[in-house]
């Protein structure tokens, strides 16, 4: 059994204690995903596992065996052109130091898919009313698992809104 990361297969670590994050960073040369709190409180390690955003620090690598992982390295087009969401983060100053950014972008991509399929959030008024209106308030709530200690949250929300409004679905 292998772990597929951004389309490339990697071996499952022999030591089952290795987290998915450590496997990516320390064994696979994929240092885009960041180690923040290492306890599920900050979101810096967010990756997409079979399309769902998860915390790679609390996921054992072995739990990803046979599944597909997408990290920030797999977001831009192969020829190096930025993904439109990455460009939107630049356009709106959605970061200062950039440490939380890979997690923010992976989280936002997962969030947009949750939104498209009609998942409600804590601030969605009508649980059964189909898709909630895509708003500043909805994005803030749905992105609350990703902290930014530089305080770029307003820029992050603006970048996600721009990307979503452009209809730039994947």
């Amino acid at each position: 059994m292998r772990i597929t990361v951004n389309g490339t297969d990697y071996p499952v670590p022999d030591d089952v204690r290795v987290s998915l994050l450590d496997m990516l960073r320390e064994r696979s040369g994929l240092t885009g995903s960041k180690l923040g709190c290492n306890q599920g409180a900050c979101g810096a390690c967010t990756v997409l596992l079979d399309g769902e955003r998860v915390l790679s620090c609390l996921t054992l690598a072995v739990q990803a065996a046979g599944r597909e992982v997408r990290t920030i390295e797999g977001v831009a087009a192969a020829e190096g052109e930025l993904h439109p969401l990455q460009q939107a983060f630049i356009d709106h100053d959605g970061f200062q130091c950039g440490y939380c950014t890979p997690g923010q972008i992976c989280s936002a991509l997962g969030m947009l898919e949750e939104f498209r399929r009609g998942d409600p959030s804590h601030v969605t008024a009508d649980l059964a009313g189909g898709q909630a209106r895509f708003s500043h308030e909805e994005i803030r709530e749905r992105m609350s698992g990703n902290l930014c200690r530089c305080g770029a949250h307003n820029g992050i929300v603006a970048a996600i809104l721009q990307f979503a409004d452009a209809g730039a679905g994947e």
Binding site: D15, V16, R17, S19, N38, Q39, G40, G43, T46, E52, R53, V54, L55, L58, T59, L60, V62, Q63, A65, S107, G110, M111, E114, R117, G118, D119, P120, S121, H122, T124, L127, A128, R140, E141, R142, M143, S144, G145, N146
Partner: protein, 328 residues
Amino acid sequence: MTPFSYRVATSTTEALAAAPDSSERFLGGGTNLVDLLRQNVEQADALVDVSRLPASIDETEDGGLWVGAAVRNTALAADPRIGARYPMLSRALLSGASAQIRNMATVGGNLLQRTRCAYFYDVPGARCNKRVSGAGCDAIGGFTRYHAILGASEQCAATHPSDMCVALMALDTVVHLDDGNEKRRLPLSEFYRLPGNTPHFETELRTGELVTGIQIPSCRAAVNSTYRKVRDRSSYAFALVSVAAAMRVENGVIADIRLALGGVAPRPWRAAKAEAALAGRAPSQEAFRNAADAELADARALGGNAFKIPLARSTIAAVLGELAGDAA
């Protein structure tokens, strides 16, 4: 983290196939257990990954729902049947943790996350009766903003952090258990223990027993239900006080009332005294406040958490008022 073995179970039979004297632990989404192992709060020799067991939500004969233990919190919250029939459960789930954690966390794991406080996690720095039986408790006399006001003991005042379980408690949910030899069912109200002198035992779960799913009974009142969570920041924080409530008013009186509290006790707290004070009464703000007072008469503060008593009182009254609407 101490070394452990790992295997994946794809069926309940496989999950329960371990030797009787095995020390295997079941792993769901890992959002609590992996953290506890890494912090050396807990140790495990062997993990059985049960997060890939069949995860279905099915209708039951009595008009309720069966939810498999491996159903993810995100899937349960978004299920249209939950949203329509038990909105307080969707609301509770959506107020819990972050989207990433809800995507990982299973129903079984949510039920079995540890009752905990910061001292429980502070292995090198704090005494904790839950970690080491009889060691003492550094929380009592320490920083107690997040601790329990109901159901605590001299040994432990940590709170059960789940939001989901507060709503499930109000809904008379039944937990299904299987150890490979015997299947049994326990109402959630009998599943959780209070700390007493054995705070390291949090549930009635037996060694080797697996939570296979939960059964949520039909509940007409739950159509008119909600969950309110008061916390230190507006998202991604544990409850200081939370209230799950459902109310059905008929002919001007409360025909059915379900009330449970989170953030205030070592287990999800069914507010039976408040329910008894409200059943058959006409809904009014006075009745709601009196019911809250009845529930909180036994509340005891440790110092830093004294604010929770008036906060719980006002939150209960506000939520019941919201559900009563024009009837109150």
